[in-house]
């Protein structure tokens, strides 16, 4: 039975393993081996569990990073890898290798959710946006002079909301507590009925009916119930939860309290991706204000027995922790490996207790429904997709940012709104979603047609789509949690085939083997990551076959590596250069 967190929820749990490791990492620039056993003892966890967690999450390191640890987001919308190379040159470092004086290390990281204002980097966990080549010499100088981050130009860290079109949710006129007041007046049964009436479906991607989820959880008898807000937002190209957590945090938390009211939970967790660490102070302030206003805490709004509070748990750079059961494992201070389901979290979730895991946007929508009613919400959107959707639009368009529209808007209309009409292709729903070409721009964004958690990535005719798909395939291979073989082994193999084709060494055989393997990885993987990892390369094959064809060699077969070069070292060690010492 995993140990519970300090149940005085309401504080950021300092005794959570992830938080303790974050502390060690920032104090010592790595996790010192001698700290591990005492930490395990103190938290009453097995040493092996602490070790495995250190190795699992990409923000924890076994050897020291630089005093300035700089991570470049390597995504397709804002990826600044040329900037990374330039900065490496300016600072005299190799990517991934800490400079000899210990001052700086530079590396890549997966999309940090700043896709509308890249290039984006994390410096010691702080987010720096809109980085340009012109800034690099200044940045290098700040590093070389060991200038503390607080003295760096403040506008480098100024993350903008970039709300370009507001709709039902973002055109907000609600005041703090409106949702909760409406709910306690109507009662929990009525609130649940309104959510059902609204036909609200989860905004995290899968679109499960929210009322049904809450009902299942409420019906499960157990000592405790929990609400978890999934703020892991790791799907590349998605950043709408960032904006909701920045400017609508009150409603996110109020949505959690509404859920708690329905399912009778006393504790909730906001699982926040490590990349959004900069939001923690403002989120804590919002929580404090809500406690003061009796919107959290004991006897909320003077309802006897309505006790609920929220803690924030900070992730550490693992996309898989957005998958709800992996998230729960991570909350339980373990590696983020997806659980076998069923049983589902609604009956066996956090610490085995019934748990609702909902996306940030779902919870915000619930507040609006509590206030305005299910009918009001239902009147927008399409038959199977009620209400509105907050889209994160990035890539090749004139106005990247946040666009909220009723479900059912066509891709074309969205492209016109953001100045992306010249696109040759759009990736809907992030790498795990769907790639479409111009012929499909008439399709609708809704669960019945193109489902999306909100990521819309636009690619102009100048883009090499193979490079895009290669980027996504590398992403999945990097983020695979390693639990099941089809994904752990399959995703690196897919990466290998794509790299071979992209470098001009692929043949028809490679393309076919890759497609065959892609289908196998899809069919046999344990969780959604593996099940979608081959989507980009298979979509590209189905919709843009010429992108592959142009790259293929017209021959039966080509090896994966240069055979003669593979003998170079042994030729040198043996001082041989005879015919037998070469391979053609």
């Amino acid at each position: 039975m995993p140990k519970s967190l300090s149940s005085g929820a309401g504080q950021q749990p300092h005794d959570h393993l992830l938080h303790r490791l974050h502390d060690l990492q920032s104090r010592f620039l790595h996790i010192p081996p001698l700290e591990i056993a005492p930490l395990a003892t103190e938290l009453d966890l097995p040493v092996s569990q602490v070790e495995s967690v250190i190795d699992f999450y990409s923000f924890f390191h076994r050897s020291p990073r630089g005093r300035f640890d700089i991570l470049f987001s390597n995504c397709t919308s804002c990826g600044g890898l040329t900037l990374m190379q330039q900065l490496c040159g300016l600072l005299g470092v190799q990517p991934g290798v800490t400079r000899a004086d210990g001052m700086v290390s530079i590396d890549q990281t997966s999309c940090v959710g700043m896709c509308d204002q890249g290039a984006a980097v994390l410096v010691n966990g702080r987010t720096l946006v809109r980085l340009t080549a012109a800034q690099l010499p200044h940045l290098a100088q700040l590093v070389n002079t060991a200038t503390p981050l607080d003295e760096w130009p403040a506008d480098w860290f100024a993350v903008q909301d970039n709300i370009r079109h507001a709709g039902l949710l973002l055109n907000d006129t609600l005041s703090a507590g409106d949702g909760l007041r409406a709910a306690v007046q109507a009662g929990a049964d009525q609130l649940l009925a309104e959510i059902r009436q609204a036909s609200l479906r989860g905004r995290g991607g899968a679109g499960f009916p929210t009322a049904m989820k809450w009902q299942f959880c409420r019906d499960a008898t157990a000592p405790e119930h929990y609400v978890v807000c999934n703020a892991d937002e790791g799907e590349p190209g998605t950043f709408k939860d960032r904006v909701l957590l920045h400017s609508y945090a009150q409603q996110v938390f109020e949505g959690m309290a509404l859920c708690a009211y329905v399912i009778k939970a006393q504790h909730g967790f906001l699982y926040l991706r490590g990349e959004y660490r900069y939001l923690v102070p403002s989120l804590e302030a919002t929580l404090d204000a809500m406690r003061t206003a009796n919107l959290l805490g004991e006897n909320i709004l003077n309802q006897p027995g309505f006790n609920f509070d929220i803690s924030i748990v900070l992730g550490a750079g693992a996309y898989i922790c957005g998958e709800e059961s992996a998230l729960l494992e991570s909350l339980e201070q373990k590696r983020g490996v997806p659980r076998v389901r069923p049983p589902f979290p609604v009956t066996h979730g956090y610490l085995g207790q019934p748990t609702v895991v909902d996306n940030v946007e779902t919870l915000v929508a619930a507040v609006h429904i509590a206030v305005h009613g299910g009918e009001w919400f239902r009147a927008h959107g399409t038959a199977q997709s009620a209400g509105s959707k907050v889209f994160s639009v990035s890539g090749d368009c004139t106005a990247p940012g946040i666009y909220e529209y009723p479900f059912g808007i066509s891709v074309q209309d969205l492209l016109e709104a953001c100045g992306g009409q010249d696109a040759q292709a759009v990736q809907i729903g992030g790498p795990s979603g769907t790639l479409i070409g111009r012929a499909e721009f008439g399709r609708k964004l809704a669960f019945e047609d193109l489902a999306t958690g909100g990521s819309i990535m636009i690619y102009s005719a100048q883009r090499d789509l193979l490079a895009v798909v290669r980027n996504f395939t590398h992403f999945f291979a990097h983020e695979s949690c390693g639990f099941c073989t089809p994904c752990r082994v399959g995703t690196p193999l897919l990466r290998k085939y794509l790299d071979k084709i992209a470098s001009g060494h692929g043949t028809v055989y490679d393309r076919e083997e890759m497609a065959r393997l892609g289908k196998l990885v899809k069919r046999r993987s344990h969780c959604g990551l593996g099940q979608t990892a081959a989507n980009p390369l298979l979509d590209l094959l189905a919709k843009f076959p010429q992108v592959y064809a142009e790259r293929l060699l017209h021959q039966d077969y080509e090896p994966f590596f240069n055979l003669d070069a593979a003998l170079t070292t042994t030729r040198e060690l043996t001082h041989r250069d005879d015919a037998e010492a070469h391979l053609s």
């Binding site: 055989y509 090896p559 994966f560 593979a566 003998l567 170079t568 070292t569 042994t570 043996t574 037998e580």
Partner: protein, 178 residues
């Protein structure tokens, strides 16, 4: 009717797959009504002639492995990668965690009990590749027979299917190893 010609060889492998091939036991006798062996440990033929089926055990660790594999690919209509080593590199590929220089230095210079330390340079000895590779990274492979080693039943099934002119298909029980 002329017999189906089969060649077999072991590259960077342990001959365990060949031993398992023999586990077909008395079924081998029946098989010999339809097949004959070209290059194989059973015949001592040095170079493979045109064949129908080539069975290759082991991955590629040196230049000679590459020559033999290429000859098999050239001569065999159907090439089958047999066993974990041929398919993934297997046990020999554990050296891929080190550089080939580290491996040679450990074996010939720094290892326990080495006297007269020197890395051999006799041209008779094939040079090691920098890494151990699976077969499909150097030639086209038609079928994969997994296992370490594949069972005698698995050998029998894949050969029977091919003899019957069918696309080979192993039942799940033959692909289940625990």
């Amino acid at each position: 009717m002329s017999k189906i010609r089969i060649a077999t060889t072991s590259l960077a492998g342990c001959f365990g797959c060949h031993m398992s091939f023999l586990d077909m036991d008395e079924r081998l006798v029946g098989l010999l009504e339809y097949v004959e062996f070209d290059r194989s440990p059973l015949t001592d033929i040095k170079h493979c002639q045109p064949c129908d089926i080539g069975l290759v055990e082991g991955g590629l660790c040196n230049a000679e492995n590459v020559h033999v594999l290429r000859e098999f690919r050239q001569q065999c209509k159907i090439l089958i990668a047999v066993g974990a080593c041929a398919i993934n590199g297997g046990v020999p590929a554990m050296r891929n965690h080190y550089t080939v220089q580290e491996c040679l230095e450990e074996a010939y210079l720094n290892g326990v009990g080495v006297d007269n330390p020197m890395i051999p340079s006799d041209p008779e000895l094939p040079l090691l590749l920098s890494k151990v590779h699976p077969l499909h990274e150097v030639v086209r492979v038609d079928y994969y027979l997994p296992g370490c080693p594949p069972s005698g039943d698995a050998f029998f099934t894949i050969l029977s299917d091919l003899l019957a002119g069918k696309e080979p298909s192993l039942p799940k029980a033959m692909l289940h190893y625990d």
